[in-house]
């Protein structure tokens, strides 16, 4: 279900008309990084988007006409009106830091850890920001576009454990 006109108007007055786009009934808004937390707090408290559906990231390294490197995607839903809104933040290297949403939605905890694990984006204020799917010793970020599909041989670099050491 698309966002209501009130939500769209609230977003447009805050960030300007060109930042709010609609494609196939989905409303997306691009938010500057500094205003992410206040915007999300406003959306949760004033517009009652109580469900954080999804946190993910897209690496635009090889994307046609892209100007920013990473696009962080937050999908929000209102469980009473079924209204949905996608909030996006653009990030560029080397400053890959964004404020964590864990204070607003507990569900953000593991979703943000996964984005950190796969893309290397740091969530400031996250209670437990560690790798979640990859081992701790892993140094690169596998879902970045400059990481090859077959890996870079990290498996072979891990120390071999013998029975005596284990």
């Amino acid at each position: 279900m698309p966002a209501t006109t009130e939500t769209i108007a609230a977003m447009e007055s805050r960030f300007g008309k060109e930042k709010v786009t609609t494609f196939r009934d989905q409303t997306r808004v691009v938010v500057p990084r500094d205003e992410l937390l206040p915007t999300m707090r406003m959306l949760k408290e004033a517009r009652s988007f109580d469900l954080l559906v999804e946190v993910t990231c897209v690496d635009y390294l090889k994307f046609r006409d892209a100007t920013d490197r990473f696009g962080l995607v937050y999908c929000l839903a209102n469980t009473t009106t079924n209204e949905r809104l996608t909030v996006r933040v653009m990030l560029n290297e080397p400053d890959l830091k964004v404020e964590s949403m864990c204070a607003l939605w507990n569900g953000a905890n593991w979703l943000e850890r996964e984005v950190y694990d796969m893309f290397g984006i740091e969530f400031v204020g996250h209670p437990d920001l560690r790798r979640i799917l990859m081992p701790e010793e892993f140094t690169s970020f596998p879902l970045r576009k400059d990481y090859p599909m077959q890996g870079r041989g990290e498996r072979h670099n891990f120390p071999v454990l013998t029975r005596n050491q284990a």
Binding site: F23, L52, E54, F63, W110, L111, M149
Partner: protein, 404 residues
């Protein structure tokens, strides 16, 4: 009355704690899950899930396989209800392309997705029964799963990974034999459901082990992004089939099953009740199955034509050739969409970014199991070690979807 409510020990007050590795190879985790438990005797003080043992990079693979090929990977994502994943994936792709699928295709997708839901719930409740000591219940559930596998085999030639959906349509149409088999299943399955009800719903051991264990309140469920049966057992009435009807769900009459307790028993019971609703949907869909093609037209050049068209018409031949050739198929817009369905486990969404080529630029899956597993430490704290399997079973964690 569970032990949790009597006293709540905290980790810092205890000077003598055991650390127990539960999994990754434990019969009750069913797959490769590892949980490091902090125990005080039998009491679980804390649980630290350690996941990633089955990480196989589904999302990275999605960026290197084309829109039709990726369905073989989504099948392996949640291998308990593979067709539902395919419906979700191709739903997202069709949304990106702006394809309106045919009516018959919508109905058939509803039928297979609901069959997948029944098979998922059978496994989930059956395995939960098995873990808490109800072996007969497990056998009842698994016999019926076999019947559903048989339907999928007749439908697509594959039992476990049917890869049934395609962009803009399906790989095969329903044959009379499939319809007959589904009708037989609709007739025989309610008797098994009644038996399953009688076996466990008032079984004292089962009720004692699941009631009041792992309680999740309504507010917590929403705050932790829980969806599907896990949220509905806590009183959240959200169901995408009703709230944001996709495919042909608006045509059918069915109820959303909810409970208020939010414990393991409620989650089990919601799943049992949902199977009856799925039967209702399949009955209505199979009786009103519209005639017509299952794929969108050949002239649109978006979906693979059937073999008869390929071999007997020039349009069919050209379309097939264009779509199979690398860099020749349909073009996708430089856009991104998020599309979700109510999969057996909860909201299964795909975030697809297209870049004009024949492979998705980014294929992200919103996995319900992953989000539900983050609830686990919270649900188990204060309960006993034997409750671990009950809570795990009630959340229905599929490791392949969890680790991706």
């Amino acid at each position: 009355m569970s032990i949790a409510s009597l006293e709540k020990p905290t980790a810092d007050k205890q000077d003598y704690l055991w650390t127990l590795n539960f999994g990754p190879q434990h019969p009750a985790t069913h797959t490769t899950l590892r949980i490091v438990l902090k125990l005080d005797g039998e009491r679980v003080i804390d649980a630290m899930p350690d996941i990633g043992y089955l990480h196989s990079g589904f999302e990275k693979l999605g960026e290197h396989l084309d829109y039709n090929q990726y369905v073989t990977i989504t099948d392996r994502m949640n291998y308990i209800s593979p067709v539902a994943n395919g419906v979700a994936w191709h739903g997202a792709v069709e949304k990106l392309l702006g394809i309106e699928i045919t009516n018959r295709c919508k109905y058939i997708r509803v039928i297979v997705a609901e069959l997948a839901r029944i098979s998922d719930h059978l496994l989930s409740t059956g395995a939960m029964g098995l873990d808490t000591g109800a072996f007969t219940f497990f056998l009842y559930a698994f016999y019926q799963r076999e019947v559903i596998y048989d339907i999928f085999e007749t439908l697509s030639g594959q039992r476990f990974h049917p890869s049934y959906t395609r962009v803009g349509g399906l790989s095969q149409d329903f044959t009379p034999l499939v319809i007959e088999k589904i009708r037989t299943f609709l007739k025989t399955f309610p008797a098994t459901l009644d038996d399953m009800d009688r076996l466990l719903n008032r079984n004292r051991i089962y009720v004692d082990r699941t009631k009041g264990v792992g309680i999740l309140t309504k507010e917590e469920a929403t705050n932790w992004s829980a969806t599907g049966p896990v949220a509905r057992a806590s009183g959240v009435t959200r169901d995408l089939r009703k709230d944001e009807p996709y495919l042909a769900y608006a045509d059918f009459d069915f109820n959303v099953c909810c409970m208020k307790a939010g414990d393991c028993f409620a989650r089990y019971y919601v799943r049992l009740a949902e199977m009856r609703e799925s039967l209702k949907i399949i009955t209505q869909a199979i009786e009103n199955l519209p005639a017509g093609p299952i794929n969108v037209g050949v002239d649109e050049r978006k979906t693979l034509p059937n073999k008869k068209q390929v071999y007997s018409t020039i349009e069919g031949t050209i379309t097939h050739f264009e779509l199979v050739m690398l860099n020749r198929g349909f073009t996708v817009p430089n856009e991104e969409v998020y599309s979700a369905i109510e999969s057996p486990n909860g909201e299964l969404g795909f975030y697809v970014a297209g870049d004009g080529s024949d492979v998705p630029y980014r294929a992200r899956c919103r996995p319900p199991s992953y989000i539900h597993f983050s609830l686990f430490p919270k649900l188990i704290r204060g309960h006993t070690l034997s409750d671990v399997v009950a809570v795990l079973g009630s959340l229905n964690i599929i490791a392949a979807e969890l680790d991706r």
